[in-house]
């Protein structure tokens, strides 16, 4: 008996879905600003955070967003998070690894940093993005092959480059993330997947307030401004052939 097929719809003529974006740490600070920014630009969004209440609140507040509860620092959470991202969005064009941990608060000298505190910074800021990117690379490379483009944005910091005293755990983890991003970008060029690492600048966020409680919020960048700049960079990294694109700001 031969194989037969019930054809439902021409893939060629089916409407292209909106840009599909996943953002970690999406309920506060820069992550929440990125969720709002991409929503404003018409994207379908999945965001991840640890706290159920905040995830549910943001998902209720912003339509067309899918809230996912999970901890990027936990290996066991990664595939369940990836499953929900691709299940809800049907694929993925952009992954923003934004969730970050300072490792030790208040900030302290490396010599006063416990091993477990450095491990926590590495788990969230390096291993989390590495594992989630690997789990989603199949979906991202599929987007690239289909001409939609694929971008992974890893949020770094000037602490990844400058040896600020007391920023050891965070700075070392972000330095590792920065270099990982550079190598991965070179390795994935042939697949059409871009890996960017960008420093959004010092922002008025809860994380910054914890790290430097005495700084004047008025002197800091607003996360909304940083989110707009980052979204512009992502849009520029997507091919012109991307049928949905990111609408200009």
């Amino acid at each position: 008996m031969g194989e037969s097929s019930n054809r439902q719809q021409e893939g060629l003529s089916s409407p292209e879905p909106a840009l599909r974006v996943a953002i970690t740490g999406g309920t506060a600070g820069l992550g929440l600003a990125l969720v709002r920014e991409f929503h404003r630009r018409g994207a379908a969004i999945a965001f991840v955070a640890r706290g159920r209440d905040r995830v549910e609140r943001v998902a209720r507040e912003i339509p067309r967003t899918h809230g996912i509860i999970g901890d990027l620092a936990r290996k066991e959470d990664i595939h369940p998070i990836a499953l929900q991202i691709t299940g809800n969005l049907g694929g993925l064009d952009v992954l923003v690894n934004n969730a970050s941990s300072l490792g030790r608060v208040p900030l302290a000298l490396l010599a006063d940093t416990e091993c477990e505190q450095l491990e926590r910074a590495l788990a969230t800021n390096l291993m989390g993005p590495f594992r989630l990117t690997r789990a989603l690379l199949g979906a991202l490379s599929a987007s690239a092959r289909q001409g939609r483009g694929a971008v992974i944005l890893n949020i770094t910091s000037d602490a990844a480059i400058n040896p600020y005293p007391q920023w050891g755990a965070y700075g070392a983890s972000k330095a590792a993330l920065l270099h990982l991003s550079r190598i991965w970008d070179a390795e994935l060029a042939g697949e059409g997947v871009r890996v960017l690492a960008l420093d959004p600048g010092d922002m008025d966020t809860a994380l910054h307030a914890i790290a430097l409680p005495d700084s004047d919020p008025a002197s800091l960048k607003r996360p909304e401004t940083a989110a707009r700049e980052l979204a512009d960079v992502i849009a520029a990294a997507l091919p012109n052939s991307n049928p949905c694109g990111v609408r200009p700001a």
Binding site: M1, E3, S5, G11, L12, G87, A139, A142, G190
Partner: protein
Amino acid sequence: MIAESRPVQRPPEARLLAIDAAGRMRQLRRADFVTMLRSGDLVIANDAATLPASLHGTHVGTNTAIEVRLAGWPSSTLGDPRRIHTIVFGAGDYRQRTEDRLPPPVLHPGDRLALGPLSARIETLLGHPRLVALGFEGPRDAIWAGLASHGKPIQYTHVPTPLALWDVWTPIAGPPVAFEAPSAGFALDWQSIVAMRARDIVFAALTHAAGISSTGDPELDNLLPFDEPYSIPAATAVAIRAARDRGSRIVAIGTTVVRALEAAGAPDGIVRAENGVATGRISAGTRLRVVDALLTGAHEPGTSHHALLGAFLDEAMLRRADAELAENQYRTHEFGDSVLIERGIGSSQLAHALCRAEKIA
């Protein structure tokens, strides 16, 4: 903290039996399978990610422990988790052979199942007392969250420790629509894709919702494979046309890719970009229209996967291959060894050759 699990998917010593169109057999390391490809070949893999398709819970009406295994999509709803065709088992788990499992209570439409955080209702029976259309309640986000937190991959008695999702996702896994792993894809890694590109071998993918492979019930197994929805991207259809035009081979990674491409293929071997449903079996009588070679597991005679090989090899050749695999103790399970089979020169390939000759003339 950093150590990953054992390399279940890619045993470094995995072997490959390669059989060419003339029936010559050669044994090599599976890691070297790219060396068996030719410049210009188009390699197509299935990028479906595997669902955590085994869910334990309770049949609410009788308060009986059950396990459900998600097994197939209703024809037109690839990836919509609100309605899934499901096989229901009684109490017990994968440590027992599926053949030895207790039956579930007698099932009726309207019965409710409590599956961890998920609540589901039997909508209809599907021609067998244990095969049902299951409707999950609640919004899609919540169903995905429930599957992610409560579901486990379907387990195999030959794998001693429980499989996690990372064990059953291939490196290229994307949309979570497969009920069991498209396991031929375990032969791939990103280096192999780089190696293909370096030799002008084109890599493409489609998404095919690989269904459950075995139910432990002979009556149900007779219904396998279930109808399987697939999606062929425009870029893959274009790549197939280009490969045909230059006279290159189409190499399928896995039987699911063969099912999708042969379902979508026109008699002239042209494949359209489409979402469709593969129905029926491919076997010795099937005339292949699209696929020229297949990388797949070492399948045991009597399975539907093995029957599919009959479309590539004539009966005598298939018996020779089986003997070679048995003699060399190839591992036949999902995480075992592989075979690469080039379709024998048959009428359809001659037809292609003649078509091309006419074009050139």
